[in-house]
Symmetry: C2
Subunit: 317 residues, 2 copies
């Protein structure tokens, strides 16, 4: 039976999954992404992982490699912000040379595109057309699947849905603009909103939970406080839901999607964030378009990228 | 030689163009869109036009009909705001029955999608992929061409680029949201900005030009005043260019387009508006994506919709 290998290189971990043509998992492993040494160090780590997991690279029918950053239409990675010393690199070529594997059986893409692929085929995307994937975590990532394939644009960089401006007077985003979705509904953005609210509300229970140290602030802590009924925590949740709802309404008006799948760590807040955001989105979006969209949570968190990479190459290489 | 008929039903005028397979215009005509009577009255007007222009409907190989409003994937028109008493209607069926013409040789679509088709094939779109068309006029319309065909979404309603929020504290949009692009950079939106600036600047030369009557305000008047060096007029221009630049940067980040073509009456301001907007867009958008996009004015104004309808059916029916 044919076998497909999916690799997801994250800022912290590297995951690999081997699947058969029925999408059954043969083996799965996680290792540390090397903090330095660039692509060569990464390839060395992969080699160790494959040995350990007994993944026979040469017998694999195709390989997908997901990267946390921009990947162009030729599979060239462009300076991924969380992979130090990578710069612009043809990681597929490195892989092919090291493992003596044919380059044309390797696909390299953005990790969100591959995560979207998982949701589309075996997750909560349910082959919706168009399907939009949003990942809320350290950053805000996006992928738009039309007929099940990522919208790529001229160079391969389309789908930067985290860099739509939601609040032009909002905090500065890493990209240079003010008030991008990423500056507001990423982990960091939510912590910033929390600071704005908390510094004016010395009575919030969150100060006790933080033991006076704001650096302990996190979405999880806000959720706990909101569950106890803390007004400040609920206000932070409202503000964040409003930002997310605005982004969702923009996306509905632009793409007329059948489904929007929301993944990433922040989405684990679940219905506390998602339910009000969904209501705001449906109220704000044009009626014809709001009617037909479903906004759902992602099914996968840990394995989505690697599985999606394997599924993609199974279907397209 | 084969012949194709394109019809553009606007809120005020109805245009028809007959072309041959080399895209040469055989005849072109303009009539009034009937103010009442719905689709039946429109069909009667078309019948008169075809008689007058000697357009032999039965000998035409395909017909495209553009509508100023939402059209679904089955060609059903949904309550176009500027066509009174239309509601939801299968205009293609009316046309087919009246002219005894095969329904399957008729395509009905949104007028901006057809205008985009003109720019793509014979205008300033130059077969760019993706190509985005923005029309700035009474409203703000959009169309996104991928591989030369409009992004349609689940139902056919995608591309509502005028309903992306640019300024959440901005004026109320007709769609119910606040600060949509359409509420800011349409004719009406610009006049609103002008009022905000002018009422605080009694010394502006625009008051003389208006002869004290603000209802005479128009983009053309602002342009004239800006050319003379009026600070208030230049401020209005700056604010509008900033809104437009923000929208363009959003679109660049979302679609990684090769070209954005800007049409509609407002774009005739030309470089006074477009040049600063272009600079803002290129500065705000992600570097990888800003690099490869060209932002240009549309080539066509009057005939774009009807020509695009004819070109579309020539290529796709």
């Amino acid at each position: 039976m044919r076998k497909f290998l999916g690799i997801d290189i994250g800022g912290t971990n590297t995951k690999a999954v081997l699947i058969d043509e029925n999408l059954e998992i043969i083996s799965f492993g996680v290792g540390d992404t090397p903090a330095s040494g660039g692509p060569q160090a990464e390839i060395a780590i992969l080699s160790e992982m494959f040995d350990f997991l007994k993944i026979p690279v040469k017998d694999v029918d195709a390989v997908g490699i997901g990267i946390p950053g921009p990947v162009d239409n030729n599979g060239i990675v462009h300076n991924p912000p969380n992979l130090k010393h990578w710069g612009d690199v043809d990681i597929g070529k490195y892989f092919a040379e090291f493992f003596k594997y044919p380059r044309e059986r390797i696909a390299v893409d953005n990790d969100v595109n591959f995560a979207a692929m998982s949701e589309y085929h075996i997750g909560n995307g349910k082959r919706a057309n168009p399907m939009i994937m949003l990942t809320l975590g350290t950053g805000v990532g996006g992928s738009v699947l039309i007929d099940g394939l990522p919208l790529r644009g001229r160079d391969g960089f389309a789908g930067e849905l985290g860099h739509i401006v939601i609040e032009p007077n909002g905090p500065r985003c890493g990209c240079g603009r003010k008030g991008c979705a990423e500056a507001l509904i990423s982990h960091h953005g939510i912590v910033k909103t929390a600071w704005k609210i908390l510094r004016r509300d010395k009575g919030s229970i969150m100060w006790n939970m933080l033991e006076g140290d704001f650096r302990r602030m996190s979405p999880e802590l806000i959720e706990k406080a909101a569950n106890i009924g803390d007004p400040a925590a609920n206000k932070i949740l409202d503000i964040t839901a409003n930002y997310l709802g605005t982004l969702l309404a923009d996306l509905i008006n632009i793409f007329n999607p059948e489904r929007i799948v929301i993944g990433g760590g922040i989405s684990r807040w679940g219905d506390a964030l998602l339910e009000p955001a969904r209501k705001i989105a449906k109220r704000q979006a044009l009626k014809n378009l709001a009617k037909s969209v479903k906004i759902v949570r992602a099914k996968f968190y840990q394995r989505a990228g690697a599985m999606g990479a394997a599924i993609y190459v199974k279907n397209n290489l």
